[in-house]
Symmetry: C2
Subunit: 201 residues, 2 copies
Amino acid sequence: MNKPLIITISREYGSGGHAIGQKLAEQLGIPFYDREIITMAAQESGEDEVAFEQLDKGMSEYAYAFSLLDANNQNDRLFVIQAQMIRKLAERGSCVIVGRCADYVLRDCASTYNIFIGSSSIKKMERVHKKGLFRRESMSPDAKLKEIIEMDKRRSVYYNHYTGRTWGDARNYDLCIDSSRVGAGACAVILAYIEQSERML
Amino acid sequence: MNKPLIITISREYGSGGHAIGQKLAEQLGIPFYDREIITMAAQESGEDEVAFEQLDKGMSEYAYAFSLLDANNQNDRLFVIQAQMIRKLAERGSCVIVGRCADYVLRDCASTYNIFIGSSSIKKMERVHKKGLFRRESMSPDAKLKEIIEMDKRRSVYYNHYTGRTWGDARNYDLCIDSSRVGAGACAVILAYIEQSERML
């Protein structure tokens, strides 16, 4: 492959999309970006890194609460600077980018592969539990399920607000994979898609 | 693989989903069912085959027009008898089933793989044009695009009406593939998903 290979990954909370992206980048020997985009964006734009990272952590929560009330808040600034950083990274060469509406930000970049990773609620709960990421481990299964649904709702509201598209609608992505049945094996499926696509060029 | 392998394929109009399903069935050496389910359902239920096939041809149009007005019409009867046939076929053994809400009909069958095939509007228009399926070949590109959108809208309304789910929402399927970039190469992607999944069992 001579042209750069840019892969964006959108993912449900607890679907393992971050780990799948990481493994994919390793297998392809190309850089992997997720939250580090924030630090890089802060550094390149001269913003306060710590403040930016804190904003990012609360980002989806803020966007969820205020998206319809305040269209010109600090989240918008974060989104714009982050989008500039994503475009710079894509120009620099092949990479895997997780989250941050990168599929939308790079929509005019024809060689980008846009992937969505979902999973069953049960598998997502297992994964989040295993990683100790629930607010309280003593929560009831119902409360844990509610937390998963809430996290996905935030991602959905954030994505829909900034892109005008529908998060998880198959028509926005080249490939959508339910990771429940394949786990990190999703990498092999993504690679098969890319291989078939490169053959058609 | 010892247990039967059931693959359902939902597809956008002009995405090549039918051909992909057919090729997949050939590669796996298992039966392929699309419209023939109607004939089989008519034969097994003692209904008039020709009347049933005509009903099927107009099915999505009727469902589109009447879904909200008349919940107990002849389409409902067709849907029920068709669903019974789909369940019988799945019990008989491995197969590929295209359309007919088979993913929903077989929702309790854990070993089913549910695939959605989409494509870009341009590629869908090219494909429908190539197959001579536009109402009039002299139509303007705008009118052709409108026809594609209309066909997909009918499929969507039909699916949503009978399943209570959202057609093309990635969360209903194991794998959603945009065939624009891979064509019949989608088969290799589906096989990669099944292989990875079987490894996890």
